[in-house]
Symmetry: C2
Subunit: 358 residues, 2 copies
């Protein structure tokens, strides 16, 4: 087996030891005589997997009993719709920060459902950035407020969580459990699993029970958060194998230790930003104070140089470095599971590439 | 490795060779240096998996270009809501056949959205059954009509597909691609994957494009069938690993040959019904002409005898034979991937158990 350095923005790299454990148990989970994919979601083997994943998510996020942890399908994109369908009634307004492609996507879906105020808008700014707290204009009495804590495409991260007055909901798809954060500041956070938590096809939702209880009661059953709280994410058959993989990944995080993992994330990103800042050749796309630790985005002097960079990096086993098709450039996604050795390899490559082409 | 005979109603048994192929490739798919779970859903490796799964589903169901094949999240339960949200406008009526728990569940969600006519209703009948075509009362000009082709809990199967006048939509979660069927009779069929097609967390939808085009345009983007047709089920990150497993299962079906598989399904069920009919001890719960080839349901003289049957069968490696908690009794689910040897083992066990206890 020869593993690549996979810089994909998502679905993204998973810890090798997680994959290896899943591989060992794939056709016969712990002597049960069946795969996790073949288990009744109401049987005792799967019950234990489900309960442990919820307990570990709760522990790692430091959530109290006033929060429920849910596993929902449809990814973060489905949450873009489910949130306003539950919480944005006629005559109300919801505040959204739109500071990148994903924030803007959340706004688009909320506007289909109801009335949106843009508390701050800078998704078209170049260089890319997150708005400062002072820029954000919150509506008194808003139904809720919504932020995107990390924008994968523009390579920006919201460093300070704003005080909004209304229940704060955050799309944390690309930086959940990647840095120290007080989750009690949020009424709800959600994340598609396929960046820091596991495979695609699953969203982790942590929601304060009093917010969920306010959800619209006229929706179909699957669309209500309250349903999934009442049924412990077992109203219908959940994505069992995805939850199992997320559970293995959370266990891996506990073994690593959150503080170590968070420090390592800072260090990995800093190694790349240091190369960029020391160079007259590479140019970061985000303003310094908004730089993401998860997605390091930069440009080379020309698109031809970028194409050559991507090609030669790929030949050297560093894959998926191409920036999102909407913006171009280079993007190195270095989520929790991305190894330090891979960042070191990219640092070397960047220095060498600059020497040869700069 | 010691595999059990897994009679679970779903998530259910998968072909062992499918699991073994997935196991081999789990941490390094075909020399790509990454797991299928780590691949960008817009990269060339995943593209090939996605395209082949769609092509094989299309081929196996015999669908023309007027149909789209979609991979959606949320299982069949989410389709219960998505169908009326798309196709049941104010002032319209939809016809539903309610002949078991799943048909009734579909009705419940449709009624949250709009106006439902029960074309036939027999979900509380004992013995359990499917309505005859002559019983079904279709509304002229209905928005659509809906049937459940196999009821997993009551162990019944709709043998003949009715002529409804309006676009016919079928929940085929528990018998899709298990028997000869003219899929062109349906405007849409859907199935949670976790019985005959793959793991949970994924629904296969085949929809006639002219029906999808009629869907409500005021819904959030993820809730429209048209979105997923336009984006080839890649509007957002799909459940890539589930689609991969479904693709491997469809390949396995092609290797087996549909005609062989269908005949084997009939034979497996018949072996069990023969034991029931030859016995004064076991009693089938469904009327003979509605008996399912997928879920064979029967009772023993007492609940104590049933509990002993389940316990001793489990000790002999035949698991998950307990009937659904809402009805009790015994249920042997023998989907496509369930091996003939497992049915033979159950037949022997049933005969022996009757001798010892009858």
């Amino acid at each position: 087996m020869s593993r690549i350095y996979n810089f994909s923005a998502g679905p993204a790299i998973l810890p090798l030891e997680v994959l290896q454990e899943a591989q060992t148990d794939l056709a016969d989970y712990k002597g049960s005589g069946m795969s996790v994919m073949e288990m009744s979601h109401r049987g005792k083997e799967y019950d234990a997997i489900h309960a442990e994943a919820i307990a570990n998510a709760r522990e790692l996020m430091g959530l109290g009993d006033d929060y429920a942890v849910l596993f929902l399908q449809g990814g973060a994109s489905f949450q873009f719709a489910m949130i306003p369908m539950n919480f944005l009634e006629q005559g109300q307004v919801a505040d959204y920060v739109s500071a990148g492609s994903w924030g803007a996507a959340a706004v688009k879906q909320a506007r289909i459902v109801g009335n949106v105020n843009l508390a701050a808008e800078c998704q078209k700014d170049i260089p890319t950035r997150m708005p400062a707290a002072a820029e954000m204009k919150w509506t008194p009495g808003a139904a809720y407020s919504h932020v995107t804590t990390n924008e994968t495409i523009s390579g920006t991260q919201l460093r300070d969580i704003p005080e909004t007055g209304s229940p704060l909901i955050a799309d944390m798809s690309s930086d959940i459990l990647s840095r120290p954060l007080d989750y009690a500041k949020f009424a709800m956070v959600y994340a598609g699993a396929q960046k820091n938590l596991g495979p695609s096809g699953l969203a982790l939702v942590a929601i304060r029970k009093d917010l969920a209880a306010k959800g619209s009661i006229t929706l179909p059953t699957m669309l209500k958060y309250q349903t999934h709280i009442d049924e412990n994410s077992l109203y219908n058959t959940p994505p069992c194998f995805g939850i199992y993989m997320l559970g293995l990944t959370l266990r891996w995080m506990k073994r690593k230790g959150l503080a170590n993992l968070f420090q390592q994330n800072r260090d990995k990103a800093q190694m790349l930003y240091d190369v960029i800042d020391a160079s007259g050749y590479y140019r970061g796309t985000a303003v310094r104070e908004s730089r993401s630790d998860m997605n390091v985005t930069f440009r080379l002097p020309t698109e031809e140089a970028e194409a050559l960079f991507i090609k030669q990096a790929s030949e050297a086993g560093m894959k998926q470095l191409k920036g999102h098709r909407s913006v171009g450039g280079i993007r190195a996604s270095v989520y929790n599971a991305f190894p330090v050795a891979g960042v070191e390899a990219l640092v070397s490559f960047m220095k060498d590439f600059e020497k040869r082409n700069g």
